[in-house]
């Protein structure tokens, strides 16, 4: 008894660290995610089922024109869906719910910094998104003969940049959603635009050149391009750098928007 008490006192008596605070908040959020069936379906089931519908619509000539195999096409779609559903859409809902429940306001009275609150809240969703990406890659390799990636570092870079951007854009979208119901609607534009215009379900090569080069500037496009290029190895260093720079620019823009517009408590 006394030994246990001593240990508790010494471990809890110290000052907190950013990592410790993030872990504590992330753990609580993971518990909450596990208790919400709706969130689990959005985060885990949908991203794994939707790529199958893409398989039906993708025509052979479309793939040929883009120089893609069914494997790389499904992989890109699966990773895109993981980002949009497991990370972005889930986080818009979570941020709005926590704000409306006054959880964010309460957290802000403690030692957590603002960015730690946003990051810690996002932690479980981001980790699930990353895990989905791994599952998608393994499934595509095993089921539709996806070959090994030629430039895996680019794929990893793409997934990481995409995840960070989805977290930041989730917070931005939450800032403009007043209720959990309106969050369902306000997250749709980015999801639709990304599915069609970011090379997830339709390769950008099928669009006219001028349109395609505009679509390459959409938020999720650089991540998709890096993932695809990471597998095909057909992305030049120059192109990879351009895609990474576009993604970073979006992240900076989103971070600025969060600092400018994010609300920590409900409107009165």
């Amino acid at each position: 008894m006394s030994a246990a008490t001593t240990t508790t006192t010494t471990t809890t008596g110290s000052a907190t660290t950013a990592a410790g605070r993030l872990a504590a908040l992330g753990k609580a959020e993971l518990t909450l995610l596990g208790r919400s069936k709706g969130m689990l379906v959005t985060a885990i089931v949908i991203p794994l089922v939707l790529p199958l519908s893409v398989q039906q619509t993708l025509k052979g000539d479309m793939l040929e024109k883009a120089g893609l195999t069914m494997g790389t096409a499904l992989l890109t779609a699966g990773i895109g869906f993981a980002m949009l559903f497991a990370v972005y859409s889930a986080l818009v809902n979570i941020y709005v719910a926590r704000r409306e429940e006054l959880v964010l306001k309460r957290l802000r009275t403690g030692e957590l910094r603002d960015r730690e609150i946003l990051a810690g809240t996002a932690l479980p969703a981001a980790l699930i998104g990353l895990a989905q990406c791994v599952v998608v890659a393994v499934a595509c390799t095993a089921l539709v003969g996806l070959e090994a990636p030629r430039a895996p570092h680019l794929a990893v870079l793409g997934v990481l940049l995409g995840t960070v951007l989805m977290v930041a854009l989730g917070a931005v979208t939450a800032a403009f959603s007043r209720t959990a119901e309106s969050a369902q609607v306000s997250s749709l534009p980015l999801m639709f635009v990304s599915m069609i215009g970011s090379g997830m379900t339709v390769p950008l090569e099928v669009f006219p050149d001028r349109l395609a080069s505009v679509l390459e500037l959409l938020p999720l496009s650089p991540a998709m391009r890096l993932v695809r290029g990471g597998w095909t190895g057909e992305l030049s260093a120059y192109e990879a750098l351009g895609a990474a720079a576009t993604a970073v620019a979006w992240v900076l823009l989103a971070v600025f928007a969060v600092q400018r517009w994010f609300r920590w408590e409900p409107r009165r």
Partner: protein
């Protein structure tokens, strides 16, 4: 109804407190603080006060007086529009990292994820709090030890307030901010919370609490300030604030008598009077003298003063009068402004 008043409280009272206390001992210092919201509403209009180490200071006011707007600035949740706040010698907004580990905060409306259990919420908060108490100890403090496994959504309103208090106490804070800690509690819960707050104060914690319960401020506070319409209308110890208000004598004037039949009011020591029908209300700073003279007059005149009520000033009386005075001043100012426009 008509009232003549001589005793007004000025919103500069906070300054005097600053002057007569040793500045080194100030845990909270507020100088000319203003807070204007986005829509242009000025919730806090230039207030100043200081709270000494180990002191329990109550900010008293009606709903909408600006208490929460003020406390949020002290907690570092927002930047003041103008003026200065220091908590433990630091700016609570800009130097959040230095201040937060040493303060505990209980918001007027705390938020917790409803699907977490009480124990999970405390453990999460403990992971974000330097020098945290063990979970069980924190819950025992507020009498929630047996509720650790219950989901927060199943707690009563009072239990949620107590969970909020447990989290505020988790880091054994030097300074505790309690925004209406007993609102929503039943009588028993309120008394328990008062006892806990007294014990914390006895152990050296500086406490700033807001309340609209007068008896709460009167029984807990070393010093208090009455806030109204964004300003401090009065401040001091509960006894000082009360003493600054006149005492009161009320009675029914017997049939056939007029106010002029009484002894001269000035000679009685009456500073203001009101009449409403046959009811006479006299205000005085020398209650015993005024009451004695009045009763002697009644005996000599052979009349009975029905409904006789002689009472010393109470905090409640002070509170209501301040609210009314400030309203009257605002009306006067508005009328003066209208006249200027006409001219």
């Amino acid at each position: 109804m008509h009232a003549h008043d001589s005793a007004h409280c000025r919103p500069t009272a906070g300054r005097e407190i600053l002057d007569h206390m040793n500045t080194d001992d100030h845990v909270i210092e507020v100088t000319d603080l203003r807070r204007v919201y986005g829509g242009g509403f000025e919730a806090v209009r230039g207030i100043s006060f200081a709270v000494g180490r180990g002191e329990l200071f109550a900010l008293l006011g009606t709903n909408g007086a600006g208490k929460t707007s003020t406390v949020e600035l002290l907690e570092g949740l927002a930047r003041p529009t103008a003026g200065r706040v220091r908590v433990l010698g630091h700016d609570p907004y800009a130097e959040r990292g230095l201040v937060r580990p040493r303060i505990g905060v209980m918001l007027q409306e705390g938020g917790f994820p409803s699907e977490l259990t009480v124990g999970e919420a405390v453990r999460m908060w403990a992971g974000c709090t330097s020098g945290s108490r063990p979970t069980g100890e924190a819950l025992e403090l507020v009498g929630l030890g047996h509720r650790a496994r219950v989901r927060i959504k199943q707690l009563s309103g009072g239990e949620k307030r107590r969970l909020d208090l447990a989290l505020a106490l988790l880091g054994r804070p030097d300074v505790l901010f309690l925004d209406e800690p007993t609102t929503g509690l039943d009588a028993e819960g309120r008394v328990e919370t008062w006892e806990l707050v007294r014990a914390l104060r006895a152990s050296g914690t500086t406490v700033l609490l807001t309340t609209h319960y007068l008896e709460e401020a009167e029984s807990l506070a070393d010093r208090l300030a009455i806030m109204h319409a964004g300003q401090l209308a009065a401040s001091g110890t509960p006894a000082e604030v009360t003493a600054a208000q006149p005492s009161q004598i009320t009675f029914q004037l017997p049939e056939g008598y007029h106010l002029g039949d009484l002894p001269p009011l000035g000679a009685l020591g009456v500073t203001a009077h009101e009449t409403e029908g046959r009811t006479v209300k006299l205000r005085t700073d020398v209650l015993q003298q005024a009451a004695t003279q009045l009763l002697l007059w009644a005996r000599d005149a052979g009349v009975e003063l029905r409904g006789l009520d002689v009472r010393s000033a109470s905090l409640e009386e002070a509170f209501l009068r301040i609210a009314r005075d400030v309203k009257q001043e605002a009306r006067d100012a508005r009328e003066a402004g209208d006249k200027e426009k006409v001219a």
